[in-house]
């Protein structure tokens, strides 16, 4: 069963999941999203909540609906970049907040990041 985080509306958590699927390429431009019923079943949530998810995606300009056919991921150049930047900004933002809590300055943070990157980079690059 999918675990939702307490204290954050469920529809926003599903929206985040779907955005994640777009970023990772599991959902590509022009792909049809699963139906309300399918998503409700997958996450075991209220179909009304899924309806809200679709409205939110639509509002954020990520999807479009065709009556009687379904909801599709928009196939616009640069959309993926926007999403990626958005997510990156969020990750960096929370990183900075957490590091500040630990009392790191910008300089300390950067040097730590550099040395960590070197270690990680050896493994991944």
């Amino acid at each position: 069963m999918y675990k939702f985080v307490n204290g954050i509306p469920i529809y926003l958590q599903i929206v985040k999941e779907i955005k994640g699927a777009m970023i990772s390429g599991k959902l590509k431009g022009g792909d049809r999203l699963p139906s309300v019923r399918e998503i409700a079943e997958q996450y075991q949530v209220n179909p009304n909540t899924v309806q809200r998810v679709f409205m939110e995606l639509d509002k954020q300009g990520l999807t479009y609906s065709e009556r009687g056919i379904g909801t599709f991921v928009k196939d616009e150049p640069g959309l993926l970049e926007v999403l990626k930047n958005e997510e990156a900004a969020r990750v960096v933002g929370s990183f900075i907040v957490e590091m500040q809590k630990l009392g790191y300055s910008k300089k300390d943070m950067l040097s730590l990041l550099n040395s960590a990157w070197q270690k990680e980079g050896e493994q991944h690059d």
Binding site: N6, G7, P9, I10, E41, N46, N48
Partner: protein, 229 residues
């Protein structure tokens, strides 16, 4: 629109439900949450005519509770409720013959979701399977009001997940679903609106997503806060 006004009920002078007031809108899944023995089941059993209220009224789209109104109410208060010796299919046929809003196709689809064969004898089912069968039967009716009493009670975690999936898949926006549970965490994700109940007193709490957004708490935490001594 289901309108419950000032419903009270006591057993041998012991009050079980005190002046309950609820307004349930079409297309919503509403939770009635509270511990065992708080009066949830009493309310649901009144709605399906298993019990009679001492006072107060229930109406669905303006029509008061009556034998004829039962055609619009689908209930599940126990998973053991069909005559002995029937198979799943026979039980479904009996349901279809009495309830015009029963959709056999949907029922079979739901059975498939939990991999139950229609030819099984009801008496041969395990407790979890019986709950799933009874639930499928109940939500395959396109009734105005569907009530489910503790659908997750006494079932193992795997079957619980199946049951949540069945409810999510089987719910039709033409219905109102009222579901009780003392397992608040498990049910939370399914609910639009929620009422709490304790010692027979019902309290309206509100829209579940709004509560998550505004109070940044789960329902379980909120329940503890509301009833903190």
């Amino acid at each position: 629109m289901i309108d419950i006004q000032g419903l009270s009920k006591s057993y041998q002078r012991k009050p079980a439900l005190k002046n309950a007031v609820m307004k349930l809108e079409q297309g919503k899944i509403v939770g009635l949450l509270g511990p065992n023995g708080s009066g949830k089941t009493t309310l649901l059993r009144i709605l399906v005519s298993e019990l009679r209220a001492d006072s107060g009224s229930v109406s669905i789209d303006g029509a008061k509770l009556s034998p004829a109104l039962k055609a619009h109410i689908s209930g599940l208060t126990t998973s053991d409720f069909m005559p002995e010796g029937m198979t799943i299919q026979e039980a479904a046929n009996t349901y279809e013959s009495f309830f015009k809003d029963f959709e056999m196709e949907r029922f079979h689809q739901l059975l498939k979701e939990v991999s139950l064969s229609p030819d099984l004898k009801i008496s041969s089912l395990s407790k979890g399977m019986k709950s799933q069968f009874a639930l499928a039967l109940t939500i395959s009716r396109k009734a105005k009001l569907i009530v489910l009493d503790e659908p997750l009670d006494g079932v193992d975690p795997v079957a619980r997940e199946d049951i949540l999936r069945l409810i999510a898949a089987g719910f039709s926006p033409d219905s109102t679903l009222l579901v009780t549970s003392h397992l608040i965490n498990e049910l939370e994700r399914l609910l639009d609106e929620v009422y709490f109940i304790q010692e027979g007193e019902i309290r309206y709490i509100g829209d579940v997503e709004a509560i998550r957004a505004e109070k940044q708490m789960s329902l379980d935490e909120l329940y503890r806060e509301v009833y903190r001594r």
